[in-house]
């Protein structure tokens, strides 16, 4: 019995009237965990009962503690008939299992019923007494911290990155069990909610075990999804990046904790950090001396080896993942070192933001899709088949990365789109070279790439230098010398799925770029259907890519960050939506214009038509240059026609790329050899392309938007204001639409959603819509669902002209302080700008005092943001992951305001429940929020609708930057506050 769970039911309020005669309720509460149930007394005749129960104690295995939620049911006592359920509260007690997260859950929770929604609130206290289990073969993984955030969480530093972790569990969907025919919708919904909660718990526990096995203590970038496969089952799967994190407060003590045997005498661990991580002497690949610290140790010592006499591992070429990692291991390697074969399997990282110096080079986007038939799964109740699918996809991703000369994939994510029995599995990421300094030995397949770490690349441009060999390029690309350092080659365009690295130098401002595509397909079944989808996919990828490229050029930009391509399958169409944030990277060459060429130049009117179009395009480009403030310094065009052999490069030739040249073709087909991008309008398609290119509504003045965490080019943030979620479903009136017609409609839908946002926020300008992300789905034939969420931030008004200076400042900070407390965001600039201006908070507020939130908001206010931070604030504690799944169903759709009214109130209820859980953990914000799933089904004829929502995020405590002087005791232990680099966390 390694754990004792204690729960106390304090009171209820605003309960619904359950007894029509008295207009009152006789409420009591059942508290259930596992198979044990306790009951409170009945509190008669009150809508605000005070139970004040004893402590209900559950003695349970920690395995159960991780898997099971605490289930609280509020009922109305009825002497003569069965007691009526008022509603339920599920409390995930996982945050209580980690000593660094919350210690108690206490607060008001909305009582939720899947048919009636929120029905009153209940005040609950939950505690856990955990006895450490030192059994090595245990099944639980209490204490492993989980973060949805795809960067290193802000009060931690990363000691080691262990690598990719994944897990997948399958179960029968209760909705498809035979018993569903005879039970009530409520029972069915509750069974489903409970099952998914259990499966999520199990999944998290299993991933935690893997992390412990690797020697890590946390999972960062934890991405959990569920696939409603229908008949074949319910899949919950998750991926993440296993890390060893050190809490920043323990930084001072780390040198003393370092294992003596691996630390060179007289050299404290931190002195080894060069002021500029990428400059200076070759960084040796350090290995984990790994005395396999106990998994529960909260402050795992920074165990990187600092001996300068160490074997420089990175110089040892290793080709192929199968090469034994033990050979180059230094003699100091500890006995418990886990065999690395498993780790090398997927050198994949779900992180999108990295500590400075982590990212050495970026190759480009790698993605892969695979169409599967769900009804062909041999043993649907077992995870093997799905495991194999994903494994196959990850291998493919890995080989793509290899072809780009990279040894790792970062910013990795996976998704599915299911329609009937067809399922499209997608994965994408960014091929990259990482600095092995951060890695667990064996985690990366660093074969042959060693020399690149010797490059003294300036941090602001190093990452754009090509990782592949210029003689043996995996795809046709035009290389030039880096416009920043003039020493290394860079491509003309760079696409990535990661966030813009903080050290990157940007000209002008960034903006959101979307490519939208709709393709009809014939309705079909089984194999035929799957084949036709498979055949369509490459064309869609190609077209989306072309659109992105065109739009990028039209904005005079040369790089995309945060690229996310979503392809959704419906019965008779495929939807593709690509979103990314375009920027002009100063280190890359200026993009050429777009040139239109006609095929039949004889026709005079045709020529005229072309020249007017050309003029329109040129005008738009010029306008955009102004709009995004892109005025790169004039450079001598030195296109490298004949590659000049580099001293370093000439010494070796790149390894074989034969393996994957064809697979990559679809990614970079449109990289032309010409300077100007030529569009040939020889057919109607191209005309459409150009039309759509030009019909993109320009973003209204005062608005900035991006789909990444920070807006490139604007660095002085004040507090963020609001998070918005919008869901729209459109019915296509005409089923016989052409591709072009559909495209137009789809584009309009997205544009309209954006316009709505701009309109609603018109009074907030200047403002920035950060993390603006759309999700599309085809829930039914002729229906298109577009879901968007974004976070609104307002920058200070005077940003022009400060960029350069502030960037410098932030770089300085990066250099001075240790690696992990520098998050690659614009935050350093925030603090610097706020320090400069006397009243940053007040100033921004006075600009729009009518709309902004009150400064001294009460504690119960919980902010939610899809970002991993809240601008203008600092996160002081992570309280645990929030991962909730809700179902809501109605049989009185019209009475609840139709589908919109129903969904509106459901989303509001979900937010309310999320806020309540965050508040009960003691938090005041949810960061890295995402609504992963929003499945909406309706049957207006029966006046019914059902909706499933899955949300997740990290519960945190934040304090305002401006408050930090006011409460020094909280922060005194933090080194950052003492060095004055406080903005960096």
């Amino acid at each position: 019995m390694p754990g004792k769970l204690k729960a106390k039911i304090v009171a209820g309020r605003h309960l619904p009237v359950m007894d029509r005669a008295s207009d009152l309720t006789d409420a009591f509460v059942e508290v259930k965990f596992g198979n044990t149930t306790f009951k409170t007394d009945v509190f008669p005749k009150s809508l605000n009962p005070q139970w004040n129960s004893e402590w209900f104690k559950f003695e349970v295995d920690d395995e159960d503690l991780q898997d099971e939620p605490l289930q609280i049911t509020v009922l109305d006592h009825d002497t003569y008939s069965a007691n009526d359920a008022i509603g339920k509260v599920y409390i995930d007690i996982d945050p209580l299992l980690s000593c660094e997260a919350a210690t108690v859950i206490s607060g008001w929770f909305p009582i939720y019923d899947t048919i009636h929604g929120i029905r009153g609130e209940i005040n609950v206290l939950v505690k856990v007494d955990l006895f450490n289990d030192l059994n090595r073969f245990r099944q639980s993984s209490c204490g492993v911290k989980f973060f949805c955030t795809t960067s290193i969480p802000r009060c931690y530093r990363v000691a080691l990155v262990h690598g990719f972790v994944e897990e997948l569990v399958v179960n029968e969907d209760p909705e498809y069990q035979w018993i569903d025919r005879i039970r009530t919708p409520r029972a069915s919904n509750e069974a489903r909610q409970r099952l998914i909660s259990l499966m999520s718990g199990e999944l998290q526990r299993k991933i935690g075990l893997k992390v412990l096995e690797m020697g890590g203590n946390a999972v960062v970038g934890y991405l959990q999804c569920f696939d409603l496969e229908g008949e074949s089952g319910l899949v919950v799967r998750a991926i993440g990046t296993a890390c060893t994190l050190d809490k920043l407060t323990s930084l001072h003590t780390i040198p003393t904790l370092t294992d003596g045997c691996v630390c060179s005498p007289g050299r404290p661990v931190f002195s080894e950090d060069p002021p500029h991580p990428l400059s200076g002497p070759p960084t040796p690949l350090r290995t984990l001396p790994s005395s396999s610290p106990p998994p529960f140790s909260p402050s795992k010592p920074c165990s990187r080896q600092s001996s300068s006499s160490d074997t420089d591992l990175s110089l040892t070429p290793r080709i192929g993942k199968t090469s034994p990692p033990s050979s180059p291991s230094p003699p100091l390697s500890a006995p418990f070192l886990i065999p690395s074969q498993k780790l090398t399997e997927f050198p994949i990282f779900t992180l999108t933001c990295f500590p400075p110096g982590f990212l050495v080079h970026v190759g480009g986007v790698v993605s892969t899709r695979s169409v599967k038939l769900l009804d062909r799964i041999h043993n649907p109740d077992e995870p093997e088949t799905r495991d194999a699918w994903w494994e196959e996809i990850r291998q493919e991703i890995k080989s793509h990365a290899k072809a780009l000369g990279c040894h790792a994939v970062v910013g990795y994510s996976e998704s599915t789109s299911i329609c009937e029995e067809v399922c499209i599995l997608s994965a994408s990421g960014t091929a990259a070279m990482l600095n092995p300094r951060f890695m667990r030995e064996g985690c990366l397949d660093t074969g042959g790439s060693d020399h690149r770490f010797e490059d003294a690349s300036p941090p602001s441009c190093g990452f754009v230098h090509i990782p592949y060999d210029e003689f043996n390029m995996p795809f046709p690309a035009q290389l030039t010398y880096c416009y920043h350092c003039r020493r290394q080659k860079v491509p003309d365009v760079l696409f990535t799925t990661i966030d813009l690295p903080a050290e990157a130098e940007v000209t002008g401002k960034g903006c959101l770029i979307q490519a939208r595509l709709c393709r009809t397909k014939k309705k079909a079944q089984g194999e035929v259907n799957a084949t036709s989808i498979s055949n369509l996919l490459p064309f869609m990828e190609y077209e989306l890519h072309t659109q992105l490229m065109n739009k990028l050029k039209l904005r005079s930009m040369n790089a995309l960050f945060g690229l996310r391509i979503q392809i959704s399958v419906g019965e008779n169409m495929l939807l593709g939506l690509a979103s990314a944030t375009g920027v002009y990277l100063s280190a890359l060459p200026a993009p050429g214009g777009i040139q239109i060429a006609g095929k039949t130049p004889s026709d005079l009117s045709y020529d005229q038509h072309i020249s007017t179009m050309q003029k329109r395009i040129d005008d738009t480009i010029a306008k955009n240059k102004e709009l995004y403030n892109i005025h790169p310094p004039e450079c001598i065009e030195e296109v490298v026609g004949s590659p000049i052999p580099d001293r370093q490069r000439s010494s070796r030739l790149f390894r074989s790329t034969s393996e994957s040249s064809d697979e990559l073709s679809e990614l970079d087909l449109s990289h032309g050899k010409k300077d100007a991008f030529v569009l040939e309008i020889d057919d109607t398609d191209a005309v459409e392309d150009i039309q759509s290119l030009l019909t993109d509504a320009p973003i209204p003045a005062g608005f900035y938007s991006c789909n990444t965490e920070v807006m490139p080019g604007i660095y002085n943030w004040t507090s963020g204001l609001q998070m918005f979620t919008s869901v729209r479903v459109y019915r296509l009136s005409n089923a016989n639409l052409t591709n072009q017609g559909l495209n137009k409609i789809f584009t309009d839908l997205c544009e309209n959603l954006l316009k709505s946002l701009y309109f609603k926020l018109r009074s907030m300008i200047p403002c920035c819509l950060c993390h603006l992300n759309f999700t599309v789905a085809v829930p039914e034939e002729e229906l298109i669902q577009v879901r968007g969420h974004t976070y609104l931030s307002t920058p200070l008004q005077s940003w022009s002209g400060e960029n350069e200076e502030q960037l410098q400042f932030s770089m300085e900070l990066c250099g001075e302080s240790t690696i992990s407390n520098n998050q690659p965001t614009a935050k350093p600039s925030v603090s610097s700008s706020e320090r400069c201006s006397p009243l940053p908070e007040g100033r921004s507020r006075s600009l729009r005092s009518t709309r902004s939130l009150p400064c001294g908001a009460p504690v119960t206010v919980v902010k939610m943001t899809p970002l991993s931070f809240l601008p203008g604030t600092r996160i002081v504690k992570y309280l645990g992951i929030i991962n909730m799944f809700f179902i809501r169903e109605t049989t009185s759709l019209r009475e609840e305001g139709g589908v919109s009214g129903f969904l509106h109130s459901f989303i509001a209820e979900v937010f309310a429940m999320v806020r309540a859980h965050v508040a009960a953990l003691g938090g005041n914000a949810l960061v890295s929020y995402s609504m992963k799933e929003c499945v909406f089904m309706e049957n207006p004829n029966k006046n019914q609708a059902q909706c499933l929502i899955n949300v997740s995020g990290d519960a945190v405590i934040f304090i305002r930057e401006s408050d930090q002087e006011a409460i020094p005791p909280l922060l005194s232990s933090r080194q950052t506050s003492s060095t004055g680099a406080d903005g960096t966390t």
């Binding site: 309020r13 605003h14 008001w108 909305p110 929120i118 609130e121 509504a697 320009p698 209204p700 609001q722 998070m723 918005f724 979620t725 919008s726 869901v727 729209r728 479903v729 459109y730 019915r731 296509l732 009136s733 005409n734 409609i745 309209n752 316009k755 709505s756 701009y758 309109f759 609603k760 018109r762 229906l783 669902q785 709309r851 939130l853 009150p854 908001a857 009460p858 206010v861 919980v862 902010k863 939610m864 305001g897 589908v899 919109s900 009214g901 969904l903 509106h904 109130s905 989303i907 509001a908 209820e909 937010f911 309310a912 429940m913 806020r915 309540a916 909406f936």
Partner: protein, 368 residues
């Protein structure tokens, strides 16, 4: 292509005050869109009417969901469904409970019953306030009435505490409740010139001086809100006091007393006003009017006619004699004070309690 579903949800509920007002005023979504368009909301925005419609719908839905909470404003503060900053909550409540003076003038003093509610379409047609808005306002009156009816303690305080209204609005509601409870007649043609604020002021006077609660007023202000000792309500006039008022009749039935009173008042007024002659000539009539009103107040029916009586018996004669407001003040002051000098008149306390209210009510009501 049609929009099947369109929602927009924010974590911290934001609302456009202009749209809120349109919703409160009972505009349909389409009408609200029209009004907003005419108001130029789209100017400078690259947005279509469609966008405006969607925005208006979103806000209307939010308001509808909030409405349930607004019915018991205390809940709004501790509910979890909507995260609304406190100052926004105050705004929401205050605006929700605000009413149109033209509307309230129509239902003031009427029984807040289903019957009255049925007639609201007539009120709506007459006042130009939409039926929806009429219903909301009527329901607000009724809700406040029902809640405070059961409560002990000072009326205004109760309303303020249970509905979190501002002091002014709470006072107005107290007046509405008081009028509805006593069913004062306010709809007669002769009373049409009076505004709601005139009545509200009078109601305040009556509540503060003629009810059971009024007796404890001095005590009450000493012990702020710890008013458990005040057993009765503010909404009914004190029975005992009304009985005592009968005693005032002596002022008009006793000829000597009446003459004495008249000469005292006339002496004091002489030379101070242009309307002196009219005052002297009308003294007996006016005095009879006021004292008769007092003597009849034990009758519920006559309580209802209190304001019409004041106008008919006192204000109209004075107005036809072209008294100025200053004349009125002067006259009433001396009329009240002179009674103290009368040796045989023993009911000074009741007289003061009565005339204090009458004086301030008449002064408030004496205008065009």
């Amino acid at each position: 292509m049609s929009v099947e579903l369109d929602v927009f949800v924010v974590n911290t509920t934001i609302m456009d005050e202009e749209v809120y007002q349109l919703w409160l005023d009972g505009y349909t979504v389409n009408d609200a869109v029209k009004v907003r368009m005419e108001g130029g909301v789209l100017e400078g925005c690259d947005a279509s009417a469609e966008v405006l419609h969607s925005d208006t719908m979103d806000q209307y839905r939010t308001f509808q969901m909030c409405e349930r909470l607004l019915h018991s404003p205390v809940k709004l503060a501790n509910q979890l469904l909507f995260q609304i900053p406190p100052h926004r909550q105050t705004m929401l409540i205050e605006r929700y409970y605000a009413f149109d003076s033209v509307f309230v003038r129509e239902v003031l003093g009427k029984k807040l019953s289903k019957g009255t509610k049925k007639d609201l379409d007539d009120v709506s047609a007459k006042t130009g306030v939409t039926l929806k808005s009429c219903r909301r306002q009527f329901d607000n009156f009724k809700r406040v009435f029902k809640v405070v009816e059961e409560l002990k303690g000072p009326l205004v305080e109760n309303i303020r505490k249970h509905f979190l209204l501002s002091d002014n609005l709470a006072r107005d509601y107290a007046a509405i409740v008081f009028f509805a409870n006593n069913r004062f007649e306010t709809g007669k043609k002769k009373l049409h010139y009076l505004t709601f604020q005139d009545f509200a002021f009078c109601a305040g006077q009556l509540i503060n001086n003629w009810t059971v609660g009024a007796l404890g007023e001095s005590l009450r202000s000493a012990f702020v809100f710890s008013d458990n000792m005040v057993e009765d309500m503010d909404v009914d006039l004190e029975k005992e006091f009304l009985q005592d008022l009968k005693e005032l009749k002596i002022l008009i039935t006793d000829r000597d007393l009446l003459d004495q009173h008249k000469s005292l008042v006339c002496t004091a007024l002489r030379g101070k006003t242009k309307a002196f002659n009219e005052m002297e000539a009308n003294f007996k009539n006016l005095s009879r009017g006021l004292v008769n009103i007092a003597a009849k107040l034990t009758n519920t029916k006559d309580v209802r006619d209190f304001f019409i009586d004041l106008v008919e018996k006192f204000i109209e004669p004075c107005r036809s004699d072209k008294w100025t407001a200053g004349d009125m003040r002067l006259y009433l002051t001396h009329y009240t004070n002179s009674a103290h000098v009368l040796d045989t008149f023993k009911h000074q306390v009741v007289w003061d309690r009565y005339m204090g209210v009458i004086k301030s009510c008449i002064l408030k009501m004496y205008h065009d």
